[in-house]
Symmetry: C2
Subunit: 699 residues, 2 copies
């Protein structure tokens, strides 16, 4: 279904300097205007309340003069789009894309150069981008700065992480806009590589709440051939400005007209559920460029991974991080290597027994002795296994059990080296039948001077997705720049990490209980996250009495995360032996779907709680996940999402009565009951707790 | 044959601060000493005359303290090497490697860090390198500067080109050391991209002549995982210092101990022929790492190339450099495209008729509309031909005629893009049977901020050679960093340009007549050059009456260059129709060998003249080339190099009596005579002229 209504195309023979566009609901209005000097500006209101005050637009160029002023309006075009599309994998099988669009065609009076600014008004927010049309006077150009401003109206509450060009793996800070200061937070939180951009530079998506109860979110969509946008704040004026990530020599973006910038997005609602359920970011991306998507499949997997994080085994084969021995080629096994043929077979057996799709193995390939923190270029070749990992035997065994192996490509940040080897790496995957790979980018980037969030790296991550697609392979990137909806265009880019994941709980001060209530309002807006939940042995002293680290949730909340943290790729991250000890709780992970027909966000408050129900794409089963922050929470939710006339067997996995994330995290109880769409269910969540429910039709 | 004599290994229990080593001939002496502050220094003398005065050694590190002072000597080792080895391709079938070696093991008193300085004294010069042994106190490190000095004794005559991190395609300047100034020369000489390092920075190899008639040459060998070394001059003190090419963020080299620096070389002789015939640079490189070298073969070739330089046809298919049309995908042929199937077949026919091995075709692949000067990343994919170039038909036709096609990989400086596509490009070559490729690096480097001469690019060129070797393919790089003997280690790196080649004569002020008398003393010391000689239509007004450009030699000198400019890859660069008009002179190009059993440098004076005789590797034929600069030259050379007892039919291709490079360049005469080793031949060379002679045994 595609409906496009052209409202009008206006060529202006007289001096018009203002235009506006409204959301289909008419609750959001965006006004565009040119200042006296011909500066393009915009402002946004919601239900007649100002949201974004008059804010400048435009870009500065490295040479040839800026595109920020001296403009007049050549033409104005409005149109309405109302269509739906079907994602290959997703939270729902149909996505509505409905907006009013305003295109302002501008030309610079003295130079004659032209740009278009395109605005889209959706019911849940607005978006704009710069469009550089084909023209003789603008061919190749270099963006030195983007001037897009977001001038806010008050001292909103924010959930922010520092503007770091190399990492988003931070825990969120909950402060007022005026209190944002990257120098006043603890940066010693397990992040090895930091490139902090400044005292008042923060990352997007930036989730906010105004004192009068409005939810705001500033982000971007369709970052293709452009750097990631961070945000510069003038704290006491509540002004934000685009801060593009530079390259090795300080330039921002190398472009050639015709081309477009990413979309800058501002979501607005008085109901937080509108933000968390929005598909605006996906809608602003291009449709799938892969024609045959039949090979793109969701996956639930286990893997040789958490056992390294908890110190039970190692990625490397020959003594942890003894670089010079590795340089000598003296690989003497320590006996602690995790990725052995034998250990992998144990995971394959476990996966097969429990109905998983895949097994990930990290540390299978030569290079781990010397991989981290050295800014080393030739770390891995992505094709040579350690002597104790028999590629063929492992894959033959997996095949005999109906299990797919998931390849692992750690690059150590050496992108140059990875690109050099990529075709060979993918050919190896095809040879053995791997359907997907997890990639990693721990460490300083090579080409040296580049950042994880710069245009070079954005292009790399997108290139890798396309190259994987050439081979009909899926990819899940870790430590990449955070996604902005490119998985719509390349749905084989099945997931990414690009935020603070579960692993930090293993060896740092970890992820505070509110962490997972914020991610759906921030990181997850850009695409699925491989959060790797499912940790049952919450406390690391299970492995070593001296350890004090722990996961900051209850066990029940770990189950709920499979529903609240949407991803078509979900790991059951804990060790097989741990799941065997809690097989009743493990049943939920075995049962839960990973691809969805529909999703209903029942309750949402960033930093506090989230409750969502999702219907399996391929059955009538529903699953519900509810999580809370550090505060216990009792709530009653309606089951009206269930199909009328059907009875369901609900299995409720909830915190034990005395459960608490810190002192008693493994206390849970499982209750079965029969329910219909008319029922309500009482959810009782412990501090740092959650509830997971499966609903199976029984008639 | 390998003879190694250990002269001694001395562990020092007492304070020794000076050591020396002599060349096998004992004419060169190198003295090493530590200053009072523990600075390592050296000095060099030749026949008891000082050549290099006390000069500092050492490197500065980005962190952890410099390796320049505070040293004491731990041990001293001397040994003698006298061996011969057989190059796969070369100027001679056996190369002698004979030197005395001195290794000074140093440790820093306060840090305990260790370095070794290794000196080699050959009969034609000395070399030294830094050796960083495996040690706990020095693992990964970053070199921020190299302090190697070359403090000379007087105001020598020099042949220099400016220190440019991106290009060596300059004509040489002949001035005294004290007169070197890059701001006083014409830099508008056809070079598109310049990164001039400073007023007094020049390139190596630096060829010099002292007022008392000594020939000196400063260069380097075995540049592997290290940047190219340029030279900083203090003009009035005659002091030179290593100037390493930086990377995008100003660092010089990223290393991990154990490792070594390249060799720094100082050649010295009172006979210029000792410099030009020296194999010191090759000897300082590692032996071939390719075991089976049977597929590495010399090649004489023609190609679709010069016709683009003279403006007869174009590389691009769709309108010269109309970038935005190309971006639209609107490829409309102009009718001037050179690389058509039909035109290629014409060259194949010509190559087959005249006994050539190969045909190069430039402009065969999509991307040339938009390739140059834009710092564009995704220029070429190296696999997609233009619609009028039928890869299969061309290669089938070539095969049917016994001709090998030579692939062309222009990267436009976008190294990142080339590496991304390299495996696919090489697989395409294997599919169609291409044995070799010419690569090109015109334009600013991507990764942006890197230079052609930095460590990143050195590593790239060496990586490409290794990757080609994986596929048993040969490579000939243009616009690469200048070679330093790596073709010994990877003999499939068959040639490089990396200096001002013939093409500059087509569209710039060209190469002055002395140019080819200097290159053998400079660029060619590092390895074979694809100079693309053989231009018969000397003046560009042949193609367009308005053109004033011309080759700055006579036609006869063009023939002589096939002997004076050693390369196992030699192009007959002019158009087939031009050769057809001068088929008697063309006979020399058809006859001349490209791989040699022996070479005898008969006369040599940098900037003035060169005469060399070479014996074909696979027959008893000899060939002689003699060239002069802008001055006419008459000389009598002995044929004593010929085999006693044999008679030879000598065919002499010489300048006509009134020939002159500028006014009458195409005047030549061909004389046949019978000669023996007892004879002398009178060579009469016009201004900018030369003589080529073939000697075929007739008994």
């Amino acid at each position: 279904m595609k409906r496009i209504a052209f409202i009008g195309l206006l060529f202006l023979g007289f001096q018009v300097t203002a235009q506006s566009v409204q959301s289909p609901s008419k609750q959001i209005t965006l006004n565009f205007s040119l200042s006296k000097n011909g500066n393009p500006t915009y402002e946004v209101s919601y239900k007649n309340k100002p949201i974004v005050l008059n804010s400048r637009l435009g870009v500065k160029l490295k040479s040839g003069g800026d595109l920020t002023a001296d403009f007049s309006i050549d033409s104005v075009r409005q149109r309405t789009i109302n269509e739906t599309w079907k994602p290959v994998l997703g939270e729902q099988s149909n996505i509505k894309d409905n907006y009013n669009e305003l295109t302002i065609a501008l030309s610079q009076k003295t130079t004659g150069r032209r740009i278009n600014i395109i605005f889209k008004a959706f019911d849940e927010g607005v978006a704009f981008r710069y469009d550089f049309p084909k023209q003789a006077k603008l061919d190749y150009f270099i963006i030195s700065d983007e001037m897009s401003e977001f001038n806010l109206t008050g001292d909103h509450k924010t959930f922010w992480i520092p503007g770091d060009f190399d990492s988003q793996e931070y825990a969120y800070n909950e402060t007022k806009l005026s209190e944002i200061n990257t120098e006043k937070i603890d940066l010693n939180n397990g992040i090895g590589l930091k490139s902090i951009a400044g005292k008042h530079v923060i990352q997007s998506p930036l989730m906010m709440k105004s004192t009068d109860g409005l939810y705001l979110n500033i982000f971007e969509a369709a970052v293709v051939n452009y750097p990631i946008m961070h945000l510069d704040l003038v704290p006491n004026e509540f002004k934000l400005k685009s801060r593009l990530v530079p390259n090795a020599i300080g330039d921002k973006a190398y472009l050639q007209a015709p081309c477009v910038s990413p979309w800058r997005t501002i979501m607005i609602s008085d109901d937080a559920r509108d933000i968390v359920s929005s598909k605006m970011i996906l809608n602003l991306n291009e449709p799938s460029k892969i024609e045959d998507t039949s090979w793109i499949k969701p996956m639930k997997y286990v893997g040789v991974w958490w056992e390294m994080h908890v110190g039970k085994s190692t990625w490397d084969y020959a003594g942890s991080q003894n670089a010079q021995n590795a340089a000598d080629g003296q690989l003497k096994p320590t006996g602690k290597h995790g990725a052995t043929t034998e250990n992998t077979k144990r995971y394959i057996d476990f996966a097969a027994k429990n109905g998983f799709d895949g097994v990930l193995v990290e540390g299978w390939n030569v290079g781990w002795e010397d991989w981290f923190g050295n800014w080393k270029e030739d770390v891995f070749d992505f094709t040579t296994p350690y002597p104790d990992f028999d590629l063929k035997a492992v894959n033959d065994y997996a095949k005999s059990k109906g299990i797919k192996m998931i390849m692992h490509h750690e690059t150590s940040g050496s992108v140059a080296n990875y690109e050099r080897h990529l075709d060979r790496a993918l050919e190896l995957m095809k040879k053995y039948g791997y359907p997907a790979a997890k990639s990693g980018y721990v460490g300083r980037i090579i080409p040296r001077g580049e950042f994880h969030d710069g245009q070079t790296l954005v292009n790399h991550f997108n290139f890798v997705a396309r190259r994987f697609a050439d081979y009909k392979l899926m990819v899940n990137s870790h430590e990449s720049s955070r996604p902005t909806g490119y998985s719509r265009t390349y749905p084989n880019y099945i997931a990414a990490e690009a935020a603070r994941g579960t692993e930090f709980n293993g060896w740092s001060n970890g992820n505070p209980p509110m962490h997972e209530t914020i991610l759906p309002f921030t990181r997850l807006l850009g695409g699925p996250m491989d959060y790797t939940p499912g940790i049952f042995e919450i406390k690391m002293n299970h492995y070593d009495p001296k350890k004090t680290e722990q996961v900051h949730t209850t066990l029940a909340k770990q189950l709920a995360l499979y529903v609240t943290m949407y991803s078509p790729l979900q790991m059951a991250a804990d060790l097989p032996e741990n799941y065997d000890r809690y097989s009743d709780a493990f049943q939920f992970i075995k049962d839960v779907a990973v691809d969805w027909q529909d999703s209903k966000y029942l309750e949402a408050e960033p930093g506090d709680y989230l409750t969502v129900a999702r219907k399996d794409k391929h059955s009538e089963k529903w699953f519900l996940g509810a999580i809370t922050d550090e505060n216990a929470r009792r709530t009653k939710v309606s089951l009206a999402f269930l199909t009328p006339g059907k009875k369901y067997r609900a299995i409720i996995y909830q915190d034990g009565k005395k459960a608490h994330w810190q002192n008693n995290p493994k206390s849970y109880e499982i209750i079965a009951k029969t329910v219909t769409y008319k029922d309500f269910i009482q959810l009782n969540m412990a501090a740092g707790g959650g509830t997971a429910i499966s609903f199976e039709p029984i008639n």
